[in-house]
């Protein structure tokens, strides 16, 4: 038993923290939020240069070949920002999906670009009947010459506006298979529209007869003699299951950051002649917060450890997402109670997390979704 990070992981953690502090100071984050950009060229190109975007990609495909726990450390630190951009979508979800669903040729051609940040990916799964199940995929891939013509509307797609390519879950025209197509974001017939409001980097992706070739189908799991789309959904589910703990780590990082902000504020804000943290009610907000934080932290890192050691991890993954989604959401609420009015001002920075926590609460399945899956995994 050893619940500490390795020396290398501690070094990675420190390096990422320095990077985030330097390249994504609060002013930058506020400006990105105000302009609605989440992957401007400047800090993003520096992030790409670090090689971290290839952290889960094997070295043979140009990545770093890190462990899941290594990647957890990276995403936790990015979550402290919260650093926007398609790092989770591309470097975790996208890379893992290509690894699971791609052919050897696709892996060789795509993954080095993903690792280098030249290509950024967003996963378009959900549609109008918003749910995360295979049966909810209604976008259609119709045969068209040598390739396919894809039509449908994907909604609430995370990071779509910042991606060079969209991996779309699509159904074959005969409705028998749900598979994956890799579509350039600038392909004719693709239109991407940001969804405004309290949503964080969500977009609608319209596919209006988008033409793709055979090679754009991620067909590494296709059954011989069957549609190249066959096996795609299963591969996606497996990729998502391994990416979820990395999303959780990002939520842990966000929770850690609002915890530290709250403790600091409890020391420096004076009311009634004393630091507000001397009042038990204020203390209790922070205690509730740290309990949520630590619950998320340990369920998440145990799931990562199970993935790294190739243990059966389904229960831990569903547990981690259930706990971490609620933890980040509630952590922000508790932080708002500590900060009261000041926390509601945009300039203070807390609302960046509040906004992120809401979108991530439901992304890849909200607590009630993962609770049901957890019950199944436990054999109930």
């Amino acid at each position: 038993m050893d619940l500490s990070l390795t020396e290398e992981q501690e070094m990675l953690k420190a390096a990422v923290r320095r990077f985030v502090d330097t390249e994504y100071p609060k002013e930058t984050l506020l400006e990105l939020a105000a302009t609605g950009q989440n992957a401007p060229s400047e800090p993003w190109s520096k992030l790409a240069a670090t090689g971290w975007l290839g952290i889960v990609i094997p070295t043979e495909y140009g990545g770093e070949g890190g462990s899941f726990t290594d990647a957890g450390v990276l995403f936790e630190e990015l979550g402290r920002g919260p650093v926007p951009g398609p790092h989770l979508s591309s470097a975790a979800l996208g890379a893992l999906t290509i690894l699971e669903a791609g052919t050897e040729e696709q892996k060789r051609s795509l993954l080095p670009d993903v690792a280098a940040g030249r290509r950024t990916i967003s996963l378009a799964i959900t549609e109008a009947d918003y749910q995360w199940d295979e049966s909810d995929v209604q976008a259609i891939a119709a045969p068209d010459g040598d390739g396919y013509r894809i039509s449908g509307t994907k909604v609430y797609v995370y990071d779509a506006a910042a991606a060079t390519d969209i991996i779309c879950a699509v159904r074959t025209e005969n409705r028998q298979h749900v598979g994956l197509a890799l579509i350039p974001a600038d392909a004719p017939g693709v239109s991407i529209r940001k969804l405004e409001g309290f949503a964080w980097n969500l977009a609608e992706v319209r596919l209006d007869g988008v033409q793709i070739g055979q090679s754009a189908v991620l067909s590494g799991r296709a059954m011989p003699g069957s549609s190249p789309f066959s096996g795609g959904w299963l591969a996606l589910e497996q990729a998502v299951a391994t990416a979820i703990p990395l999303l959780c780590a990002y939520q842990v990082g966000g929770s850690q950051q609002v915890y530290e902000m709250s403790v600091e504020y409890s020391r420096t804000r004076i009311q009634f002649g004393t630091p507000i943290g001397r009042f038990q009610r204020v203390q209790d907000h922070i205690i509730n917060l740290v309990n949520e934080l630590d619950s998320a932290r340990w369920t998440t890192y145990e799931a990562l450890w199970k993935l790294d050691t190739e243990r059966e991890a389904a229960d831990s993954v569903h547990l981690a997402k259930t706990v971490s989604s609620a933890a980040y959401y509630n952590a922000c609420n508790h932080a708002h109670e500590v900060h009261a009015g000041v926390g509601s001002t945009t300039e203070y920075g807390l609302t960046l997390h509040t906004t992120a926590s809401r979108t991530l609460y439901q992304f890849l399945g909200d607590p009630k979704f993962h609770r049901r899956r957890l019950a199944d995994a436990l054999g109930l």
């Binding site: 918003y130 922000c332 439901q362």
Partner: protein, 410 residues
């Protein structure tokens, strides 16, 4: 017990009169936007105009004393008025105005006869609109720490300082504000209230950039502002309650702000989510038939019903002269906490459709998205949840033999 206003024949006749009048006098285009920050100047002017016409009839502040320009009507009349205007998604007054409920009541209790004659008719007839200015950067929960100074100089006071989180958009006629008139004085004995004409030289107003202005329903407070006072000269006759007697006035003001007034009316966001779930399908079935959705709707319903009953109880206590202790802050605390639970329930039901105001993909024409933000920010104004619990504890007498009394109300 009787949980419903007794609708006498006279009341029902009054209702018909009100219905007809509202039907004729409520103009198109007055509708509340999803986020009160989006209320246009034109909409605001429509509402002010409606307010003036209500004021002329004595229906703007129906139970306020007739001698000071109020309606002089009974509670039963005011219930009818509130119910009917609620049907238009409006409230009394139909715009943010802390003048009547908070400032007006405080002047009724603490003002001189001359001040009542001067200010109250303008307030109760809707001629003026008043903002309240309480919070300062260093005086949030600790309001008694207000540092905005008012220094006597001849027949005037000279005010300097800064107030924050001041509602709302489109200007005010008066500012109802608490100041420090004796920086060296004892706590709670060094404060004074003023009704400050908003057009005095030296006052400047800047909007704040907030996650939400917590305008949940009805009038909504719209944008919030920072107000600076730079050597603003206010006539001494605008001092309410006496120099250094401001904390007394504050107890009245805060009593009402902390929820003692109660309220009759629907919880609009709850109505909206129930309606949405009954009329929108997922996978071919109404959302309200989904087992998880039903669980959340029941959670929401229970919170809404308890909140309604607490507000109804307070409304009745306030108007029947019952002995009020902890009930005001209890209702306020419950409304704040349950509001956030309700928001979480809605997010669970709708997922990301609750987070966007996109006209196609957002639920409830932006109202749901605005509520998701507002429910967080609503935890703080009018006393944080922690402050509500501080007051409840004193009023219940937890750990103390003497129970603190509620602030005096008119």
């Amino acid at each position: 017990m009787d949980f419903e206003p007794r609708y006498t024949a006279e009341q029902e006749a009054f209702r018909t009169e009100v219905q007809e009048w509202l039907h004729e006098n409520i103009p198109a285009g007055i509708e509340h936007p999803a986020d009160s920050i989006d209320l246009t100047y034109e909409q605001y002017q429509l509402r002010r105009d409606l307010g003036r016409r209500l004021g002329e009839k004595g229906w703007l502040w129906p139970t306020a004393p007739e001698e000071y320009g109020g309606g002089g009507l009974t509670v039963d009349h005011s219930v009818v008025l509130e119910e009917e205007i609620d049907g238009y998604n409006l409230s009394l007054p139909p715009y943010y105005d802390s003048g009547g409920r908070l400032g007006g009541n405080s002047i009724l209790v603490w003002g001189s006869e001359e001040q009542k004659q001067e200010f109250l008719p303008k307030i109760f007839k809707g001629e003026i609109r008043t903002w309240q200015l309480l919070t300062e950067p260093e005086a949030g929960s600790d309001l008694a720490n207000a540092k905005t100074s008012a220094r006597r100089d001849g027949d005037d006071y000279v005010i300097n300082g800064q107030k924050v989180y001041v509602g709302s958009a489109h200007g005010s006629d008066y500012m109802w504000t608490i100041t420090c008139t004796d920086p060296e004085g004892d706590r709670h004995h060094n404060l004074s209230w003023f009704m400050v004409p908003s057009d005095l030289p030296g006052i400047s107003v800047f909007p704040m950039d907030l996650l939400s202005s917590a305008g949940e329903s009805g009038a909504g407070s719209g944008v919030k502002n920072i107000v600076y006072f730079d050597n603003v000269r206010v006539p001494a006759r605008n001092l309410i309650g006496g120099e250094n007697e401001g904390w007394k006035v504050a107890t009245t003001h805060l009593e009402l702000e902390h929820g003692t007034g109660g309220k009759i009316g629907r919880n609009w966001i709850v109505d909206r989510i129930f309606e949405y779930c009954k009329t929108n399908n997922r996978r071919g079935e109404p959302l309200s038939k989904d087992v998880d959705v039903r669980e959340r709707l029941i959670d929401i319903y229970i919170d809404a019903e308890i909140g309604r009953l607490f507000q109804l109880r307070n409304y009745w206590m306030r108007h029947s002269g019952a002995h009020i202790t902890y009930e005001g802050p209890q209702a306020s605390y419950f409304r704040k906490q349950s509001g956030l639970r309700i928001a979480t329930g809605i997010l669970d039901i709708l997922g990301p459709a609750a987070l966007t105001k996109d006209s196609q993909w957002g639920a409830g024409e932006g109202h749901i998205e605005a509520h998701q933000r507002a429910a967080i920010i609503a935890l703080h104004p009018g006393g944080t949840t922690d402050i509500q619990k501080v007051i409840m504890s004193r009023r219940i007498g937890i750990g103390r033999q003497q129970r603190e009394r509620a602030g005096a109300l008119a």
